[in-house]
């Protein structure tokens, strides 16, 4: 059984089932040498008291802004800097 979501995390719970834009705190991340600003979008499919999960998880790489990662991705809330409800098809400047 999942823990109930505590009131402090309701700000995330509100996003459950919605698509969001999410940015984490570091300058850049790196998968196999491809670096990117940690900007993601996708649908929130899971909210716990410690992390949220996007599925599909789109990594907004600067050279491939609509790259759908092969697995869902989870984000520790403590590492999230910014999120907002977001149309995943929107094209936004990334660099």
């Amino acid at each position: 059984m999942r823990e109930p979501i505590i009131p402090e995390n309701e700000v995330f719970l509100e996003m459950l089932g919605k698509t969001i834009l999410l940015v984490t705190e570091s300058k850049q991340l790196n998968i196999l040498g491809q670096t990117f600003r940690p900007i993601f979008s996708g649908k929130v499919v899971e909210v716990t008291n410690g992390y949220i999960t996007l599925d599909p998880a789109i990594i907004k790489m600067h050279n491939a802004p609509f790259y759908k990662f092969p697995t869902p991705l989870s984000f520790p809330m403590e590492a999230i800097s910014v999120f907002t409800e977001f149309d995943p098809d929107r094209r936004i400047p990334l660099i």
């Binding site: 600067h62 050279n63 990334l94």
Partner: protein
């Protein structure tokens, strides 16, 4: 994973286009499996291009080992030398260097090379068995290729068939964890010997003279062939030539590469310079990318300068079509217009519908299938209503592309099929894609392009056919002379849409003089960089199957640009007749400023719509001053008596005609000699001559400044240098290096941001540093005031300054007073390092064969002067050092004897528009990048500063402060750029870490100077420091006193007359090792680097032990505009020493006057595997540097020798090091066996086990590793 490739070097006829232009003596690397097929196909198609004839590209993944069986079928020794990879220099260098074994291959023989690769990117490879510069060499004929390294776990397929491939310049690359991308190899290639169909040198039908050919991937689509079809009436009889050069409606698609993708496809262009000579300007329409692909703070660029053997990955932001998802053809070209015209262009074709092979282009040629990338949405299928690009465009094959719908005032109506394709928010100028919304703020301009005479200086040099963009509202004022002509600079803020009306008011022809034949230039447009636009209708160009988005004389068209983010200055120009008239001034900028900015005239304080100088006011960031500097060559000027200045050999020749300028102004120093002394030491002095006519930036001390640097025209490299002020190489990246110099090619733009540091009133020189540039007047002054002056408005957010009471200085016509030499005041406890330096004339021996400069001018430590003058010491350039936090005092004494080879007319090495210019007997020393007071320690007599040069017998002291770990810094004389610098009047200062000691590499005794020292620092590892000053423009005589005229290639006679920029000999630290002194026969060329055969070269021989930390300090102090690459074999380093996210490279390009760099070799001497052996350092310019002696050796010694003291704290024992060459995978697995971790069941037991294990093995990890290796 081990990948094996069998590569063969073969002779092959290379046909470069369907017109039959070809290299009969082509050479290429090819996979053995394709060798017979290629040979057969070429035999069957002697006059057509053959697909498999392309530079060899093989691929591997990060972490792979690559085993190459290399077979040589050429009639001389060849090899494969690879960059960026790890390899054993003894077995896999692909060269025959120093004391190494020969790893080139005789005709008919083979060898095995082994490489391993650790990071994604490009590993260029080429032949060093025959590095001759002429047509006898191998590289000019195509003997190069590349290994592309992909992310781990990748595989690659053919973009047409979807099948796996083993080689090929284009591939789709797939990876389980990363987006699939389209990979396009793009190999620039120059100087190839290309004949026309008949075997003759190709003739331009325009000039009726022979013409060169510039290539991409062994293909070229020069204008000359297409022009002939027009002249013969085969196509488009009413066309002129250049305006349709890239028009597929007229000619069909070119034979040069077409990079095909669907909208949004991720792309990596692997940009490689396989050529030998030129520094090219890669420009990609519509798209931008990060300069450093792996650094998200990196600068956004859309032009990349690239020198020979250099490489860059270009991965455009947002994929094909950029942010706005544009479709259509985006041309990719070398922006150097002569190269562009001579065939160096291709394009990116972005489709918006699925291509399965069933569709045709409008001319009936099949559109080959293009496999959609598997992780991308499927593009829609073409339908009759929406056939997709290019089939909705209503053009007629054989005729010029149609004009765009909506944009042209009074133009045609769109067709129904065009309308079906319109974007929902279509507006004129953004018809098929429009990234703006209803809320986007809009800024409007009406621009006109006009022709009028432009006078460039007070001597009356002028361009009778000056052409420039002006705002319609200013046209009258500019034409009437009320407003001085300057390149148009307009501004907009980030987030705005900029809408233009553009009216073409040019006359329909140009030329008809010594510079240019009469040519029609009847249409024009505005092609812009950086901003987001619809490439079909707002490219301001005529490319591929797009519309021709230009207008005829008298017509007006509308364009829309969207500035999505703040950008630096953004270049725009005409793209229709650029070769003919951009050099007359057709270049401009739109500066995209921070949101919320407005722009004030710095002299009136009023809001302004255009101008090269402005104050940018913003509520959130500090206000700043902005100046745009457009550097310009091929300026086709006449003197006041209508004599052409530096006319070409024949009209319309691309052979470096004309002069140079900054913002349509120049101040040639030949006119700044004052009778009776005519001393070059005062050419920059405003006391003597008044201020130059070139742009003068005025500021108050402490003002923030952004210099927007652009090259507007036309072919040369330039090197911007500024005294005293420094900026970050990439403005948005504070990890990027501090610079004071910037190499620039046409269409590049840079923002140089700094605070105007200094006290009192002072003038600073900016100059484009080559002798040709300065000679022709590419220099000017930045002036800063300590107190408020009446004519210059202060920035609104700065504190009020006290008013200046003294009058401003004025020209007196007299030599300024010598700077007052009071004692310098230093903070208490400051460490001041003092050097007594003497400037003297001396003979410099450049090599052991007697080549020497009898009129050398050197800076030397006073203690070495006697040894130099008595011939005991052959001087090296002065190399001095100081630690961060220290002050440096240079006491300079002038012992020049007033001798030179001439009394006023210098001659070889020549400059354009040669004139009387006697040598100065004064001298000075200027330092880059250090902190000092410009008023007394700049080493230049500039503007209204006092004299900082000294006459014979005089002394001067300069004081500099080392505030930063900058590394190598150029030192040079500023008293006589024309006559002193190329004779050796330069040196290097190196800033070292705090607390460093400088030790002799053999004795470990402290030293004051030297190119090879040990730097010992308490908190850092000791390292070896190797210092190299690369220089050119040298005037040497041989042992018999005969003048050496360089470049003169070996074994051929008078191949071509060298440009001014190439004249003179080359050197590393006043030394060279010319091929001509070592080899006498062609078949000896592979041995030329061998010390076994010829002894060690005269260039510096650097020594190290395996694994020793090594830093190479590199500067380029003199003299010519030609840019050079610098390469080190078998080692890699970060492109920016301070930026760990910068690329790993083994070749640094674009080195020119004022370049300074620091190469911290990764893993130390001998690379990752600490391999002993001889590693060549060299220029990457096969034409002509290497042959003229720009190469040397870094020797990594196997055993301890008396000639080299070991570094302290180097824990590698030599034996261990030699054994430390095993397969890294083995190393890992052995370690794991040793560790033998036990499966843990619970957290507590885990903890216990850890503790237990730690007790059992108390030795540190790296020692375990050693034991593991030894066991």
């Amino acid at each position: 994973m081990i990948r094996k490739y069998h590569i063969v070097a073969i002779p092959i006829r290379i046909v470069v286009n369907r017109f039959g232009d070809h290299d009969p003596n082509g050479m290429m690397y090819v996979l053995k499996e394709n060798e017979d097929i290629v040979k057969k196909k070429v035999e069957l198609n002697p006059f057509s291009t053959v697909d498999l004839v392309e530079p060899l590209v093989i691929r591997a993944n990060v972490g792979d080992t690559i085993e190459i069986l290399f077979e040589n079928q050429l009639p001389f020794n060849t090899g494969i030398h690879i960059q960026n990879a790890e390899y054993d220099v003894m077995t896999s260098d692909g060269a025959f260097v120093g004391l190494n074994r020969n790893t080139t291959v005789q005709p008919g023989k083979s060898i095995i090379y082994k490489w391993s690769v650790d990071f994604e990117g490009i590993n260029f490879f080429s032949d060093l068995g025959n590095p001759l510069s002429s047509e006898l060499g191998s590289n000019v004929h195509g003997l190069f290729g590349a290994l592309f390294v992909e992310p781990r776990g990748s595989w690659w397929t053919d973009p047409v068939t979807g099948k796996p491939i083993n080689s090929g310049v284009f591939a789709d690359v797939h990876n389980p964890l990363l987006p699939s991308y389209r990979e396009f190899g793009w190999f620039f290639h120059d100087e190839m010997e290309v004949d026309d169909l008949t075997g003759q040198k190709p003739i331009s039908p325009h000039t009726l003279q022979p013409e060169a050919t510039h290539l991409i991937n062994y293909r070229s689509e020069p204008m000359r062939n297409r022009l002939r079809l027009i002249q013969e009436g085969v196509v488009c009889p009413d066309c002129e030539g250049e305006e349709v050069h890239h028009d597929s409606w007229v000619f069909g698609d070119p034979d040069t590469p077409i990079l095909r993708a669907y909208v949004g496809d991720p792309i990596k262009i692997r940009l490689v310079h396989g050529g030998t000579k030129e520094t090219h300007s890669f420009h990609y329409h519509l798209h931008q990318w990060l300069f450093e692909m792996n650094d998200s703070d990196s600068e956004i660029v859309d032009v990349q300068a690239i020198s020979p053997q250099n490489q860059y990955t270009v991965s455009p932001a947002y994929g094909a079509g950029s942010l706005q998802g544009a479709f259509g053809d985006a041309i990719i070209h070398c922006h150097l217009y002569p190269h562009f015209g001579e065939g160096m262009w291709g394009m990116q074709r972005t489709f918006n519908t699925l291509q399965d092979g069933s569709m045709c282009y409008p001319n009936g040629v099949q559109i080959k299938a293009l496999q959609p990338l598997p992780d991308r949405p499927l593009p829609p299928k073409p339908t009759l209503e929406k056939p997709g690009f290019p089939n909705f465009i209503p053009g007629i094959p054989g005729f010029k592309a149609p004009r765009p719908p909506l944009g042209i005032i009074g133009g045609r109506k769109p067709t129904e099929i065009e309308k079906n394709q319109f974007a929902p928010n279509a507006v004129p100028g953004a018809v098929f894609v429009n990234p703006t919304t209803d809320e986007t703020p809009i800024r409007e301009f009406h621009v006109v392009l006009i022709q009028m005479p432009i006078v460039y200086n007070n001597e009356g040099w002028y361009d009778p056919e000056g052409r420039l963009y002006v705002l319609a509202e200013d046209e009258e004022a500019v034409r009437s002379g009320k407003k001085k002509p300057e390149p148009l600079v307009i501004r907009a803020n980030a987030g705005e849409a900029i809408r233009f009306k553009f009216t073409n008011k040019l006359p329909e022809t140009i030329g008809g003089n010594a510079f240019q034949l009469v040519t029609r230039t009847y249409e024009a447009g505005m092609h812009v960089h950086f901003v987001k636009f619809d490439v079909l209708v707002s490219d301001g160009a005529n490319v591929g199957w797009n519309y021709d988005s230009s207008v005829l004389s008298g017509e007006t068209i509308e364009y829309q640009w969207f500035a999505d983010v703040e950008l630096k200055s953004t270049f725009w120009h005409d793209h229709l007749f650029a070769n003919e008239h951009q050099l007359h001034g057709v270049f401009s900028s739109i500066n995209i400023e921070p949101r919320g900015s407005y722009y004030l005239n710095p002299y009136t304080g009023e809001e302004m719509n255009s101008g090269t100088q402005a104050m940018i006011i913003n509520p959130l960031i500090p206000d700043f001053r902005e100046i745009n500097l457009f550097v310009h060559d091929f300026a086709l000027l006449f003197d006041k008596d209508d004599k052409p200045l530096n006319p070409p050999p024949f009209p319309s020749s691309p052979d470096d005609p004309g002069v140079m300028a900054v913002n349509y102004r120049n101040e040639p120093i030949q006119f700044r000699l004052k009778e009776p002394h005519c001393d070059p030491a005062y050419v920059f002095s405003s006391w003597v001559h008044g201020d130059p006519v070139t742009p003068l930036l005025e500021t108050y001390n402490g003002d923030p400044v952004r210099v927007r640097l652009i090259q507007g025209a036309q072919e040369e490299s330039h090197s911007f240098n500024l005294h005293r002020q420094r900026w970050h190489r990439e403005r948005g990246d504070l990890d990027s290096e501090l610079d004071q110099q910037q190499h620039i090619v046409i269409a590049e733009t840079f923002t140089l941001e700094f605070n105007m540091e200094g006290e009192g009133d002072f003038d600073m020189l900016y100059h484009f540093g080559s002798v040709d540039d300065i000679w022709l007047g590419n220099w000017g002054i930045f002036r800063s005031f300590g107190k408020r002056v009446p004519h210059l408005k202060p920035l609104p957010d700065r504190e009020q300054l006290p008013l200046r009471e003294k009058p401003l200085p004025k020209k007196t016509g007299k030599v300024p007073p010598l700077v007052s030499q009071s004692e310098f005041e230093y903070p208490k406890n400051a460490k001041v390092r003092k050097y007594d330096v003497v400037a003297l004339n001396t003979k410099i021996e450049y090599n052991d064969y007697g080549d020497h400069d009898p009129f050398g001018i050197v800076f030397a430590l006073e203690k070495d002067v006697d040894a130099i003058l008595s011939g005991k010491l052959n001087p090296e350039p002065l190399i001095i050092r100081a630690n961060v936090g220290e002050f440096v005092e240079i006491k300079l004494m002038n012992c020049l004897k007033d001798i030179d080879h001439h009394n006023g007319r210098h001659g070889y090495p020549e400059v354009p528009v040669e004139a009387f210019f006697p040598p100065s007997n004064r001298i000075s020393m200027h330092a880059q990048l250090l902190v000092y007071d410009v008023r007394h320690s700049d080493g230049a007599t500039v503007g209204f500063n006092c004299d900082q040069t000294i006459g014979p017998g005089e002394c001067i002291t300069y004081s500099w402060y080392i505030d930063q770990p900058i590394g190598s810094v150029n030192l040079w004389d500023m008293a006589d750029i024309r006559n002193h610098r190329h004779h050796g009047a330069f040196g290097m200062l190196i800033t070292e870490p705090r607390g460093s000691q400088y030790l002799n590499h053999k004795t470990r005794k402290e030293v004051e100077t030297g190119s090879q020292v040990i730097i010992s620092t308490p908190l850092l590892p000791e390292f070896r420091e190797f210092s190299l000053l690369m220089h050119d423009g040298v005037r040497l005589v041989d042992k018999n006193g005969k003048l050496i005229i360089d470049p003169q290639p070996l074994f051929v006679i008078d191949e071509e007359f060298p440009d001014f920029e190439d004249q003179g000999s080359r050197g590393f630290n006043y030394r060279n090792e010319r091929f001509s002194n070592r080899i006498k026969k062609f078949n000896e060329v592979y041995k030329v680097f061998s010390s076994r055969v010829f002894g060690d070269p005269s260039t510096p021989l650097f020594l190290a032990y395996p694994g020793d930390p090594v830093v190479i300090r590199f500067t380029f102090p003199a003299d010519k505009p030609r840019a050079h690459s610098f390469a080190v074999h078998g080692h890699i380093f970060h492109r920016s020493k301070d930026d760990i996210n910068s690329s790993l490279i083994s070749v640094e390009g674009q080195n020119t006057v004022g370049s300074n760099d620091n190469f911290h070799l990764l893993y130390g001497a001998g690379g990752l595997f600490s391999k002993p052996g001889d590693y060549m350092y060299r220029s990457g310019n096969i034409r002509w540097d290497i042959e003229l002696g720009l190469w040397g050796i870094m020797r990594v010694l196997r055993n301890r020798k008396n000639l080299l003291a070991p570094l302290k704290m180097n824990k590698w024992k030599q034996n261990n090091t030699l054994n430390y060459q095993l397969d890294r995978k083995n190393l890992n697995s052995k370690k794991f066996q040793k560790k033998g971790r036990v499966k843990i069941t619970s957290r507590r037991s885990y903890k216990r086990k850890i503790i237990k294990q730690n007790r059992a093995t108390s030795t540190p990890k790296h020692q375990n590793r050693d034991e593991g290796v030894q066991s």
